[in-house]
């Protein structure tokens, strides 16, 4: 007899699917409430699951009681539960922070469509986190791509449609590679369930059979997911997609969509191929190089931008580089750092996007730096949010960014071969981050109020006019500080979750 809690992953996925279908019949406002309640319910279920797994250990849930090699499976563990909870939290905050902008930018008749896409996005993210079947993972990767594309183009102008096309092209290349990787792996092992594949892979490695096809399959899967999560040099679609879509979409895309793929990659490394096999294959050295280049070039591109949202987007390229750097170190400490960076970046980047929109709103919706001068005085809470996010990105203690940088350094020290390049890259990137983020913070806090007095659009937005937005930004800052101050229990949780993986 299963415990009732073990049904929660399946319930979450089904609930998301049902509510996204139901939203098509609802009006915008009702769909909004359905979406909010859904995110809260799924988040609560995931949280319960996390605590359940902390007590009882991980479990696999066979769909329809069909046993292992034939049926489809879902797996619940500490890391899965925690990740799903965190995704729900960030999604809730991103939605509430961008609500006002959404009403302005998306036509009334299309409001419910937006919520359908968000529900589908949540569904695919939850499924990617929980699934124990590689082909199911592929199907949800595609659902994720389609809903992400919809999220980008819901705001209709030439830029967003072009960004959506570019996003689709890169994503499809990525999923094509991932699919081929999965097919070759299926060919080699005869299984699609993660645990069964791992057993067969271990036998193959022990006997030394099919080493080349196995390597190629791994390379295809890693490369496919790297393209989809915008690892350098596959990031060309990213600034347009994040920079011109409506703000909730940008926050969700930057903080959740790419993270879903990275989490799937971590799952594949641990649960499908086996950590040692991936480590011995030297593929991680390749991703290490790209991650390092991505960190530096992402930061340089961000420095050259004079558009605040594109700058924040380019900084995502660098941050994704950090995550891959952690994975590529090939140690447990590196992996813990990478998972913590997923959390830290998700919390920070969505806050930066949400704050940036508050600043541009107070500056006649201009995103150019010269118009943003002093905007933090016109919209105080947005200024605070942006400053806090920037400090976190640079790695100032008290904020989450500091902990992730610290973890990367510690992980690098333990890895003799990659220590020096990691240190150098981290040092350069911290300086570059400090240059472009602090430059922006200084600009938005430069007191030039008189310059804009009387100019249209440059208005002071008071806190009482934007209560939902203010609460969101405060919660974001609190979340960031919480990640920075209470990192110890979170790291323990991540460590326990990773140990449950293998």
């Amino acid at each position: 007899m299963r415990d009732f809690v073990q049904n929660f992953p399946l319930f979450s996925i089904i609930l998301c699917l049902i509510s996204s279908s139901a939203s098509s019949l609802l009006k915008g406002k009702a769909a909004k409430w359905v979406n909010t309640v859904l995110i809260c319910v799924v988040g609560a279920m995931s949280l319960t699951l996390t605590f359940y797994c902390l007590g009882h250990g991980s479990f696999t849930y066979t769909m329809g009681h069909v046993p292992a090699p034939w049926g489809n499976e879902v797996r619940g563990g500490v890391l899965e539960g925690a990740m799903a909870t965190f995704f729900c939290l960030i999604m809730l905050l991103s939605m509430s922070g961008g609500r006002k902008k959404l009403l302005e930018e998306v036509e009334d008749t299309k409001q419910n469509l937006y919520y359908i896409l968000v529900n589908l996005m949540l569904c695919s993210l939850i499924a990617l986190v929980y699934t124990n079947d590689l082909f199911t993972a592929y199907v949800f990767v595609e659902i994720n791509t389609i809903s992400a594309c919809g999220l980008i183009m819901i705001r209709q102008n030439g830029r967003t449609i072009e960004a959506a096309v570019r996003y689709m092209i890169m994503s499809l290349l990525g999923s094509g590679l991932f699919l081929v990787g999965v097919c070759i792996l299926y060919d080699l092992t005869g299984h699609l369930l993660m645990s069964n594949i791992k057993e067969s892979v271990q036998t193959l490695v022990a006997t030394g059979q099919y080493s080349e096809p196995l390597l190629i399959s791994m390379a295809f899967m890693i490369m496919g997911l790297a393209i989809k999560s915008a690892l350098f040099p596959f990031h060309a679609w990213l600034p347009d997609a994040y920079g011109y879509s409506t703000i909730s979409s940008a926050a969700i895309l930057s903080s959740l969509v790419s993270k879903g793929y990275i989490f799937l990659l971590i799952k594949i490394i641990y649960r499908v191929i086996g950590f040692e096999v991936v480590h011995d294959s030297l593929l991680l050295n390749v991703t290490f190089v790209f991650a390092g280049l991505g960190i530096i070039f992402g930061s340089i591109s961000a420095m050259r931008e004079d558009d605040i949202r594109r700058m924040v987007s380019f900084s995502s390229v660098a941050q994704i580089g950090y995550i891959y750097l952690g994975i590529s170190l090939g140690t447990r400490a590196g992996m813990v750092a990478a998972v913590f960076q997923i959390l830290s970046h998700a919390a920070t980047k969505s806050m930066l996007f949400i704050s940036a929109i508050g600043l541009t709103d107070a500056s006649n919706t201009s995103r150019k730096f010269k118009d943003l001068t002093g905007s933090a005085y016109r919209n105080k809470i947005a200024g605070m949010g942006f400053a806090a996010g920037s400090l976190s990105m640079v790695g100032i203690p008290l904020f989450s960014g500091f902990i992730s940088k610290l973890l990367f350094m510690q992980a690098a020290v333990a890895n003799y071969g990659k220590m020096l390049p990691t240190m150098i890259v981290l040092a350069i990137s911290t300086i570059l981050n400090a240059i472009y983020f602090m430059r922006t913070v200084v600009r938005i806090y430069s007191p030039e109020r008189d310059l804009y007095k009387g100019r249209e659009g440059f208005k002071v937005i008071h806190t009482r006019e934007q209560i939902e937005y203010t609460c969101t930004v405060i919660l974001f800052i609190a979340l960031n500080v919480a990640l920075g101050l209470c990192s110890e229990p979170i790291l323990e949780l991540i460590g326990t979750g990773l140990d449950m993986f293998s």
């Binding site: 082909f135 595609e142 030439g158 830029r159 449609i161 096309v165 094509g176 699919l179 060919d187």
Partner: protein
């Protein structure tokens, strides 16, 4: 090595077709040709899967004439995967085509680079 390649020439062909589709999707400027590339790429994967499921001398897993021996059928799982893949690829193609139509109506060209150039000029 060479004998392996000869024995598995069909798989090699399917991967070459995959590469052709992949390059088409990546490098072509024309959006419709990109979508054709996407379909070639996906079809190559189905070919690969169908090859992997096929067992010489066996028939499709459909019960005809009371034959119930599992030994007489090919592996049905890859066929199932192909079906799922086709569903995914059809929906993705439809989405891409609809996006292409929108872009064409706005800019009267299918050249993605040209569209990007015009967007830069518009300064949106």
């Amino acid at each position: 090595m060479n004998t392996n390649l000869l024995n598995n020439y069909a798989e090699a062909v399917s991967l070459i077709i995959f590469a052709i589709g992949f390059t088409n999707l990546l490098l072509h400027k024309n959006l419709i040709k990109k979508i054709i590339g996407l379909n070639i790429m996906d079809t190559a994967v189905y070919l690969f899967l169908a090859l992997k499921g096929y067992i010489k001398g066996h028939v499709a897993p459909i019960v005809i004439g009371g034959e119930l021996q599992p030994d007489s059928y090919i592996n049905p799982i890859p066929s199932g995967l192909v079906l799922t893949g086709i569903v995914v690829s059809v929906s993705v193609t439809a989405l891409m085509l609809s996006l292409t139509i929108r872009l064409y109506k706005r800019y009267h060209t299918l050249d993605l680079d040209e569209i990007s150039l015009r967007l830069k000029k518009e300064g949106l």
